[in-house]
């Protein structure tokens, strides 16, 4: 018997409040550190340095009082994709390998030590990106991430980029994710209660699949549009007339811990470059 709980298996993008020092860092700090990590990982070709970075992330996980198993489980859905990528590299990348030693050759397949190193490095890098992104979202609410982005990009507003509107639109989207997920769940349950069955259509008949999804999508669309209309009215009723003349309530402040974390991040980047 299937269970209807749409939010249960979503761990990527999930926020877990544990009130750790990592949680308390300014979102701008965490965004910048994430960028530093990605920069460090992409600018080194040494698997050793990449392993070092992964180790650092493991340490941060502990510092953030998160269960490493829970964090890693969030990465599991990517595993098939990762394996596929590695297989593809092994099969087709060998011909362009610069190594002179060849361990195995069969038609176009050519396995060399450099190729193995490249495949390993690619996999480690991808893991690292996902790991650092999970850590960012697990320790920072999406709203604070957006506040951070808004303030980091703030100067661009002056040259006419709609930074505020972008941030507000995203905050509203975030605010409605649980609402609309609940709605989808309720509509699905209602249609199942009326004898509907989803997922039994043959995949080679996209017309029938689409037809079967209509009872879910039509109400969801109609209700979302209605919500949007009501929200616009409610925002207008509270004097929202765009970003002009608007002030900001949320205050972000960089504390000594933030400067310290940024300094450590910088040092790590230099260390990685030194290892290369």
């Amino acid at each position: 018997m299937s269970e209807f709980e749409f939010l249960r298996n979503v761990t990527v993008g999930q926020y877990l409040p544990t009130n750790s020092p990592v949680h308390r860092l300014d979102p701008r700090t965490k965004l910048l550190l994430t960028l530093l990590m990605v920069l460090a990982a992409t600018s080194t070709a040494s698997p050793l340095a990449t392993l070092l970075l992964l180790g650092v992330l493991g340490g941060v996980t502990g510092l953030a009082k998160l269960d490493a198993r829970y964090v890693l489980r969030g990465l599991l859905p990517v595993a098939p994709f990762l394996l596929f990528l590695m297989a593809m590299q092994l099969l087709f990348q060998g011909r362009f390998s610069l190594c002179s030693t060849v361990w195995y050759e069969w038609h176009f397949v050519r396995v060399t030590p450099c190729l193995l190193e490249l495949v390993l490095l690619g996999a480690l890098r991808l893991l690292l990106f996902l790991f650092v992104l999970s850590l960012l979202t697990l320790t920072t609410t999406a709203a604070y991430l957006l506040h951070g982005i808004e303030q980091l990009l703030g100067p661009l507003q002056r040259i006419g980029l709609p930074v505020h509107e972008f941030a507000l639109a995203n905050i509203i989207a975030l605010r409605f994710i649980p609402t609309i997920a609940e709605e989808l769940e309720r509509v699905a349950k209602a249609q199942v209660s009326r004898g509907g069955e989803f997922g039994s259509e043959p995949w080679y008949r996209p017309d029938r699949v689409a037809r079967a999804r209509l009872p879910l999508l039509v109400p969801l669309f109609v209700n979302t549009l209605r919500r949007a209309e009501e929200l616009v009215v409610a925002m207008q009723a509270r004097s929202y007339l765009g970003s002009q003349g608007r002030s900001r309530f949320v205050e972000l402040r960089l504390r000594p811990a933030d400067w310290g974390a940024l300094a450590l991040g910088g040092a790590l980047l230099l260390l990685v470059w030194g290892l290369a």
């Binding site: 209807f4 309720r186 209509l214 608007r246 002030s247």
Partner: protein, 587 residues
Amino acid sequence: MPPILRVENLHHTYTRQGHPVQALRGVDLTVEAGEYVVLLGHNGSGKSTLARHLNALLLPDQGNVWVHQWNTRDPAHLRAIRSMVGMVFQHPDNQIVATIVEEEVAFGPENLGLDRSEIRRRVEEALAQVAMQPFRHRAPHLLSGGQKQRVCIAGVLAMQPQVLVLDEATAMLDPQGRRDLLALVARLHRKQGVTVIAVTHFMHEAIDADRVVVLHEGRVALQGPPRWLFQQPEALRALQLDLPPASELAQALHRRFPAFPADRLTPEEVATAVQTYRPLQPAPQLLPPLLPTPSRPPPLLELQHVAHFYMRGTPLEIQALSDVSLAVHPGEIVGVLGATGSGKSTAIQHCNGLLRAHAGHVRVLDQDLSDPKVDLRAVRRAVGLVFQLPETQLFEQYVGDDVAYGPRQLGLPHAQVRRRVQAAMAAVGLPFAAFKDRVTWTLSGGEMRRAAIAGVLALEPQLLVLDEPTAGLDPQARQLLLRQLLDLQAQGCTLVLVSHNMDELASLCHRLAVIAEGRTTLTGSPAEVFAQPTVLRAFGLELPAMAQISERLQSEELLPPTAAFYTLAQAEATLSQLLAEPGKKPG
């Protein structure tokens, strides 16, 4: 002092489905500063449209609206008008912008361009006024409906408005949430002199108003103080409205005993009037004692000690149900009561196997649903489940097609589908010939609700479970739907009703079950359940109006517990006997 709001010959027409709809046809209305005005009117009478004119969300086609001394047509005053007149709408979910409570409250002040320290001060003050400071860092979607509405009010208060417009703000709340919200509004009105304009479908919410304005066909049809207004039952009925339950009883008693005051509006007032009508001796036993329950056929549906967890196996796991037991016998109407978040919606989703019991058993038609061999589709045909606001789940363009969805899924031949659709639509009072080709979205709110219920009836269930079937309907649509449910029961359909409306449950149900904090805390006949007012109140519920009167008379020892009543008919019969006791003839 000039009036704070002045509406002059206001006309407004909007287009719906390409047709012009004249929502307002010449409204004149003046509201003085500090007044508490309630706007009544059936669906489509124009009251929400009028409310939206009061802070320039809509602009007049003809006529004028002045807020303070500003004409709403003048764009220069838009910010001033909107910060002076704050609005709270029906669905809290659709008016919250931010993902954190305090940021939500700050949204309005941010729009006014206030500086950070002033915003901080106003957010503190507004959260304190609605008693939501402990929740300031919460995400709004984790709050109850009543708490969300209080956050919305705080968001408006932070703009320091002089007028508060509530557009059916209590419609979606449970009794506790509704009571808290009304008390909050009354406090703001009394202590801070806020002018209140409340649009509502609940007659008893009009009782505290200084003035009630009834709209009909886009005009003001009737207005006056509530005590006067509710003395006009015929006029109100002609305007498709009804009376508060206590007022209805007072007038029924007045017809029998002309000296009994007809203008009593609340249960307290009626109880006091019964006491002072003349000094009464403690009454003798008036009604026969309760009969022993006859032996009943085995239950159609049985929940036995059901427990359920959400997000099971994640760090976010929460227990929604810990011990829910409920038996529904053929032919019964069983009411399920409980505050928001008590677990009652989770409980009813076990009835047709949408959710699986993590402990305990669910038995439907003598089958245990935890048995993997059970055909769930057959169970779902036997147990029809109608969700809250079912009209939001309609998806077909034509009413007939939507109702036919279920039977078509069963793969029935065309003639049978047609017969079932016809029968289902007839059962909810939507004649097949007239309605099958109507476009779904053009139906009225009440008709859409009934069409959605027909969609479940077309599966010909033996048991129909309805979650808040009358929420958000106007009085007339509500009465009509309840009558149709009674007809269904008379035709042999067993019903389970989940509702916040105690008066409704009292007058319809054979048995009641109270769910609180994930367990069934009380079950029994309405008389048994309503004899436990302290338990009900502890769980955020309230007695029906008639039972409140009965409770008061019992505490004054004017009524023996065996004569307790909870429906209007019982109250009328019992009190007529009580007032007509030999000794003194009334009048």
